[in-house]
C-alpha cells in the first residue's frame, strides 16, 4: 500500500503540507489527524494496546502502520485523548487491545486546584508522545507527514473536572468554566510546541465542543477567544478536531486561526464545505466510522470517499479515531478510492 502510485509526484509529507497551505497537490491527501490504529495493525506489527500508550518505541511502531500497512499520508502516534489527563495524575483505565484508555475519576473541583508543574512534559504519558515523534522523525521525517496531537482546554476540563459538571456550569457558574479555560490554555501550547520541536509537521488540537452537547454560542463564548490566543503561540500548523454536529459553529471556528478543521460525518458534507469555503476554512474528514469504515464494505467506503472528493474536502480520512476492530481493508479502501478518483 505504501508504494507510490505511478502518477504520484509528491511525497506524502509534501502532499499533506501543500494541502494545508492551500497549494496544489498531485492528488487529494489521505490522512487521519486522530488515529487509525486497529487491532489488525497491532497484530501485524506485534505491538498492542494498552502498551502502546506508554512506551515510545511501541507507540511509534504501531503508529507507523498507518503509513506502512494502510498507505496513509500521515502518521499519528497519539492514539487516544487521555495522555494529558494521565500526566495530570487522573486515575486511569488504560483499556485493552480493543478499548481506548479513559479517566476513571475527574479529580479537580475548581481551576485553582489544578497545578501545571514544570515537569508536565517529562511525565510518562506526555513524554511518550514526544519521544515517539522523535523516533518517527528519524525514520519517516523527510517523507511522511507526522501528526502530533494535544487536547484543548475544553476537553481537558471534561477530563479534569467532569463533562456533566462542566456543561451545567456553562449556565450555573460560567465564571468557573472561563476559569478552567484560562488555567488550561497553556497546556496545549506547550505540549504542541514540544511535539513540533520533536519533529511533528502538524498538530491536531482536539476540543470537543460538539453540537451533540453544546450550542454554537458555547463555542463562541467559551472556546473561540481562548483558541484565538492559543493558535498564534503554536509554532506550526494546527488542525482543530471536534466530532459530532458542527456546521452551526464553523463560521466561528474559521476565526480561530487553525490551518484546517477535522469534521464528522454527522454534518452534511456539501453544506459543511459550502460554509467552510465561504469562511476560508480547510476541511479534513469526514468518512463515517461506525456504519461505513467499521461495519461497511470497501464499496461503501469508495462511495463515501467519492462524495467527499466531489465536495472538495481538502484532506480525506476517517471522521475520528477509528473503531479498533475496523477492518484494514476498509481503511485501505480510502486510499484506493482517492487514487481512483484523482487519477481516473
Amino acid at each position: 500500500m505504501s508504494k507510490r502510485h505511478p502518477r504520484e509526484t509528491m511525497t506524502p509529507r509534501e502532499r499533506v503540507l501543500a494541502a494545508l497551505y492551500g497549494k496544489k497537490t498531485d492528488r487529494i491527501p489521505v490522512g487521519n489527524p486522530t488515529s487509525v490504529a486497529t487491532v489488525e495493525c497491532m497484530e501485524a506489527c506485534g505491538v498492542y494496546f494498552p502498551d502502546a500508550h506508554l512506551d515510545a518505541h511501541k507507540m511509534a511502531t504501531l503508529a507507523a502502520t498507518g503509513y506502512e500497512i494502510l498507505g496513509y499520508d500521515t502518521i499519528a502516534p497519539y492514539f487516544s485523548v487521555q495522555q494529558e489527563a494521565a500526566a495530570f495524575g487522573c486515575e486511569m483505565t488504560w483499556g485493552d487491545i480493543d478499548a481506548m484508555p479513559d479517566v476513571r475519576k475527574n479529580p479537580f473541583n475548581s481551576p485553582e486546584e489544578i497545578e501545571i508543574s514544570g515537569d508536565f512534559l517529562e511525565r510518562p504519558a506526555t513524554r511518550t508522545v514526544i519521544e515517539a515523534i522523535r523516533l518517527l522523525k528519524k525514520e519517516y521525517g523527510d517523507h511522511v507527514c507526522l501528526v502530533g496531537k494535544v487536547m484543548g482546554p475544553w476537553t481537558l476540563s471534561y477530563h479534569l473536572y467532569g463533562v456533566q459538571k462542566l456543561l451545567m456550569d456553562t449556565i450555573l457558574d460560567p465564571a468557573k468554566v472561563h476559569g478552567f479555560m484560562k488555567k488550561l490554555k497553556q497546556v496545549p501550547v506547550m505540549f504542541a510546541n514540544a511535539q513540533l520541536e520533536a519533529g511533528a509537521d502538524v498538530v491536531t488540537l482536539a476540543d470537543h465542543a460538539t453540537g451533540d452537547l453544546v450550542g454554537p454560542n458555547t463555542y463562541r463564548d467559551f472556546l473561540l477567544p481562548v483558541h484565538q490566543e492559543i493558535t498564534p503561540q503554536i509554532k506550526g500548523p494546527a488542525i482543530l478536531h471536534i466530532c459530532g454536529r458542527t456546521t452551526d459553529r464553523m463560521s466561528h471556528i474559521a476565526k480561530a486561526g487553525f490551518a484546517a478543521f477535522h469534521f464528522d460525518s454527522k454534518n452534511d458534507t456539501l453544506e459543511a464545505k459550502t460554509i467552510a469555503a465561504r469562511e476560508g476554512l480547510l476541511l479534513v474528514g469526514n468518512i463515517n466510522n461506525p456504519d461505513v469504515l467499521y461495519a461497511g464494505t470497501p464499496e461503501d467506503v469508495k462511495k463515501r470517499v467519492f462524495e467527499a472528493a466531489e465536495a472538495g474536502i481538502e484532506i480525506i480520512g476517517p471522521e475520528c479515531a477509528v473503531p479498533l476492530r475496523t477492518p484494514n481493508a476498509n481503511l485501505k479502501a480510502v486510499v484506493e478510492a482517492v487514487r481512483e478518483y484523482c487519477f481516473r
Partner: protein, 212 residues
C-alpha cells in the same frame, strides 16, 4: 401567573431553588403531587424537549432543567403515599463495559424519570453479566444501553447476545443509544429500539408502552 406556570418557567430556566420554593407554595395551596408533577414539571420538560429538538437549546440547558425537576419532585416525596404511584415502565439503564461516559445516559434517565418511569441506573462500565443479572432481578420492561465510543459500540450487541443465551431476550425490550449509534446499527444488532437523544427516548418508550 399560576404557581404551576411559575414551576414550569423555573424548570425550563433550570432554577432549582426557585422550583423547590414553588413546590412548597403549591402544596400549601392545596395542589396534589400528581398535578404538580404532571402540569408543572412534565409540562415544562415537554417544552424543554421541543426546544432541544429545534436546536434552540442544547444539553447544558436540558441538564439544568432536569436537575430543577429532580429537586422539585424530591420535595413531593413526603406527600406521596407509598404504592400510590403507578409507573410508566420499569427501566434498567447503563453504559456498557469499557465505556465511562454517562452524560447522555443520565439525561435519558432523568427525562424518563420525570415522565413517570421507574429507573434503575447501573452506572457506567457495566459488565454484560451485570446487565443480564439486573434483567433477571428487576424484571424491567426495558433495558437501555448506552455507548459513546465506536470502540464500545459492539458491546451493545454482545449484551443482546448474552440475554439471548440466558433465555431472557423475550422478557425485555432492549433500547440502545449513544453518539455513534444509529437506527441502522440498532437493527443490525437486533435491538428493539433506538433513540438519538433523551427526548426521543421518552417518545420511544411511551410509544412502545402504548403499543404493549
Amino acid at each position: 401567573m399560576s404557581v404551576l406556570l411559575q414551576i414550569q418557567e423555573a424548570t425550563i430556566g433550570g432554577r432549582a431553588e426557585e422550583a423547590v420554593a414553588l413546590v412548597k407554595e403549591a402544596i400549601a395551596g392545596g395542589l396534589t403531587p400528581e398535578v404538580i408533577i404532571q402540569d408543572g414539571f412534565i409540562a415544562a420538560m415537554a417544552v424543554v424537549g421541543e426546544k432541544f429538538k429545534n436546536h434552540e437549546i442544547f444539553v447544558p440547558e436540558m441538564l439544568v432543567a432536569a436537575r430543577a425537576m429532580q429537586f422539585g419532585i424530591s420535595q413531593l416525596e413526603p406527600y406521596m403515599v407509598s404504592g400510590e404511584r403507578t409507573y410508566l415502565a420499569r427501566i434498567v439503564l447503563g453504559t456498557v463495559k469499557g465505556d465511562l461516559h454517562d452524560v447522555g445516559k443520565n439525561l435519558v434517565g432523568m427525562m424518563l424519570q420525570g415522565n413517570g418511569a421507574e429507573i434503575i441506573d447501573l452506572g457506567v462500565d457495566v459488565s454484560t453479566d451485570a446487565f443480564v443479572r439486573a434483567v433477571e432481578e428487576h424484571k424491567p420492561q426495558f433495558l437501555g444501553l448506552s455507548s459513546l465510543l465506536t470502540t464500545t459500540m459492539p458491546v451493545l450487541g454482545q449484551v443482546i447476545d448474552a440475554l439471548e443465551a440466558a433465555g431472557l431476550r423475550d422478557k425485555v425490550k432492549v433500547l440502545v443509544g449513544g453518539a455513534p449509534v444509529s437506527q441502522q446499527f440498532a437493527e443490525k444488532i437486533g435491538a428493539d429500539g433506538y433513540a438519538r437523544d433523551a427526548i426521543s427516548a421518552v417518545d420511544l418508550v411511551k410509544r412502545m408502552v402504548a403499543a404493549g
